[in-house]
């Protein structure tokens, strides 16, 4: 049941929400507008484009660089998400359910890694990757992404695992499931909202990362979109690539919006309602 708000309260809530949405969406609208403007109008300081053109979109896809970067971004982000969430699922389950010594230390260390400023490891990583041949490769980016997002994923999932009643995996074990079956058939479906939350966090991190992508790649082999955009050039050396950058920014935002919209529907609390008494 939604609480019935008095009319004035309702008004204030609507006004506040509208303000927040405008505040958040204005820059995005600005970029969309820029990406649709005719090259000659880019500096006209108007919010609405006077003449709409898809020239910039055609331009970025005509160039070999951007589609390659898009594939890199998609592949690297998806693989990172898959691996990080899978590892985090097992780690979080172990942390919550198994009473091993050093459990607290493990969680504290994981948090410490999350606090680590990435800038400080970029230099050593650059040298190491060149040495072992991971420089400018997919694994070269996937590895740091997994490492840096794992703590967050583990903490998120651990919070969800704690909500699952122990009796459910005991029941599954008695019902004839192996420990692994109990995990995959009973526990994972119940923490699905947590898995999706963690997946979104990891995906966004990997998708948006600029620092590692810029420092650890050099060619189209592994360069992701945020880094690739930085290397955009105008059609002539006297022209700023503003329109192309705006178009590329819009293109990379779309998958993110889609992913969040899909998973948002799955992130609903109360899935465990009905498991135990109450």
């Amino acid at each position: 049941m939604k609480p019935q708000l008095p009319r004035t309260d309702h008004l204030w809530w609507s006004a506040g929400s509208l303000l927040a949405v405008c505040y958040a969406l204005t820059p995005i609208a600005w970029i969309v507008s820029l990406s649709l403007k005719h090259p000659g109008d880019l500096g006209d300081n108007r919010f609405w484009p006077q003449r709409i053109t898809f020239e910039h979109y055609r331009a970025i896809f005509a160039d070999a660089q951007f589609p390659a970067a898009l594939m890199n971004s998609l592949g690297i982000a998806l693989i990172s998400t898959l691996l990080a969430v899978t590892i985090a699922m097992f780690a979080a389950y172990a942390v919550v359910r198994i009473n091993f010594s050093g459990r607290r230390l493990f969680l504290a260390l994981a948090l410490a890694i999350a606090m680590f400023p990435p800038v400080s490891i970029i230099g050593p990583l650059f040298n190491m990757w060149r040495l072992v041949g991971l420089y400018d490769t997919w694994p070269g980016l996937i590895l740091p992404y997994i490492t840096l997002t794992l703590p967050l994923a583990i903490w998120t999932l651990a919070a969800f695992f704690r909500e699952i009643p122990w009796d459910l995996d005991k029941a599954a074990r008695v019902d004839g499931a192996t420990a692994f079956q109990a995990f995959t058939k009973v526990i994972i479906p119940l923490v699905a909202p947590g898995v999706f939350s963690a997946a979104i966090l990891v995906f966004i991190f990997a998708w948006n990362d600029f620092l590692f992508a810029l420092s650890l790649t050099s060619t189209n082999d592994a360069r992701t979109v945020p880094a690739a955009i930085a290397f955009f050039t105008g059609s002539s050396r006297f022209e700023q690539p503003t329109g192309s950058i705006a178009a590329a920014a819009v293109v990379v935002t779309i998958p993110l919006v889609i992913v969040v919209l899909i998973f948002q529907r799955r992130i609903v609390a109360g899935l465990t309602a009905g498991a135990v008494k109450g």
Binding site: N99, P165, D167, L168, K170, A171, A172, R173, V174, D175, G176, A177, T178, Q181, K185, V186, P189, L190, L271, T272, A273, G274, A275, V276, K277
Partner: protein, 388 residues
């Protein structure tokens, strides 16, 4: 079908607490067996050891003579009903019931047949497509039972299955569980802290306290011949009254009574001068006539009127100068808290007597219903009742 044998089972947890100490039991094939005890007595741990969710530190679990200590729970073919029901919330009722069968790799046709039969027995037929969250407590309880019976297991283990239900539903489900056992004739091990549930359902009971087995027997045996103070105080409602006393030359001296009681021929076995605790059930006290011996002079402290009966709480007029030594008693902590020097008790009377607080009463002690315990060990030394 299974006979479950426990041999010298002990369980010590990592933090050093000893949940179960050296328990040996045999649960016969097809028996309705109850593990009874107050919370923390180790009864649930024992159940978990039987089903394989915990491993015993020492001792053997045998099923039909075969040691199954190292057998995984999934291979034990036992079904368990949890206190919390542990219904899988992401599956429909039907899928919940079918889950153990799916795991066993049964084909869909046979699965459906079994689920339908279980649903019929438990009247879940029209709920198979509903999600657990839309069910009431009693319905969830049935689903949990249903998931246990579809497998046709060797044994059912029930861990306080009724404790989350309201009183009326609990009585109804109690009857249904008894019927179910009658129909299936499968070994059932039932854990509860509720002695009413235990004595109404069980064919045999094991009473546990602080991880130790106190007594095993039929409800009647435990009621009539409790082995020690704890069992005497735990079985029966209202619980047994205890009075401090002393044996002198085959006669029992009770400070609460004016007369001494002759313990008869067998009473001479008791050491003269022995301090004892005398137990007497509330139903073995009655209003005294003028010519009765062994009369307890009491003052009414509280009347609980229940329609068919009245439980009258009283304090004794005599005795009670010394602190009664009831160390081995079930609710001794509670008794100590009261702290008073007065000796108190309960009597079950006809509700037609209109009694109120402060009234004086004379109660006749049924001298042929006395249980005499050693106050140190709690062991029963003597009982005047001949009932077995």
């Amino acid at each position: 079908m299974a006979e479950i044998q426990l041999e010298n089972i002990s369980k010590r947890f990592e933090d050093g607490t000893e949940a179960v100490k050296d328990i040996s039991l045999t649960i016969d094939d097809g028996e309705f067996f109850i593990l009874l005890g107050p919370s923390g007595c180790g009864k649930s741990t024992l159940l978990n050891i039987i089903v394989g969710l915990e491993t015993a530190t020492t001792g053997d679990v045998r099923v039909d003579g075969r040691v199954i200590n190292d057998l995984d729970p999934k291979d034990r073919n036992m079904a368990m009903v949890f206190q919390s029901y542990a219904i899988y919330p992401h599956m429909t009722v039907g899928d919940n019931l079918a889950f153990p069968l799916k795991l066993a790799g049964m084909d869909k046709e046979e699965r459906d047949k079994r689920v339908t039969r279980a649903a019929d027995i438990l009247e879940l037929g029209d709920m198979l497509h509903r999600m657990p969250r839309s069910l009431s407590g009693g319905q969830r309880q049935r689903v949990a039972m249903g998931r246990a019976i579809v497998r046709q297991p060797d044994a059912f283990l029930l861990d306080e299955p009724l404790s989350n239900l309201d009183a009326k539903l609990r009585n109804q489900m109690r009857g249904e569980i008894a019927n179910l056992h009658e129909q299936l004739q499968t070994t059932m091990v039932y854990v509860t802290h509720d002695q009413t549930e235990a004595i109404t359902l069980g064919q045999r009971l094991a009473v546990l306290r602080r991880g130790r087995l106190q007594q095993v027997g039929s409800p009647r045996e435990l009621y009539n011949t409790p082995a020690n103070l704890f069992v005497a105080g735990f079985i029966g409602f209202p619980s047994m009254n205890f009075f401090p006393g002393r044996v002198e030359n085959g006669r029992l001296q009770l400070p609460v009574l004016e007369d001494t009681i002759d313990l008869g021929d067998n009473g001479t076995d008791l050491n003269s001068g022995q301090e004892v605790v005398v137990g007497l059930r509330p139903e073995h006290l009655a209003l005294a006539e003028d010519d009765n011996e062994a009369v307890l002079v009491v003052e009414v402290a509280l009347v609980e009127w229940l329609g068919a009966d009245a439980y009258v709480h009283f304090t004794c007029k005599h005795g009670g100068e010394e602190e009664p030594r009831l160390g081995q008693l079930a609710d001794n902590e509670e008794k100590e808290k009261k702290g008073g020097k007065k000796i108190t008790g309960i009597v079950k009377l006809d509700p037609s007597h209109r009694l109120s607080r402060g009234d004086a009463l004379n109660l006749r002690v049924a001298t042929d219903r006395l249980h005499i315990f050693d106050p140190e060990s709690g062991r029963c030394l003597f009982r005047s009742s001949q009932e077995e």
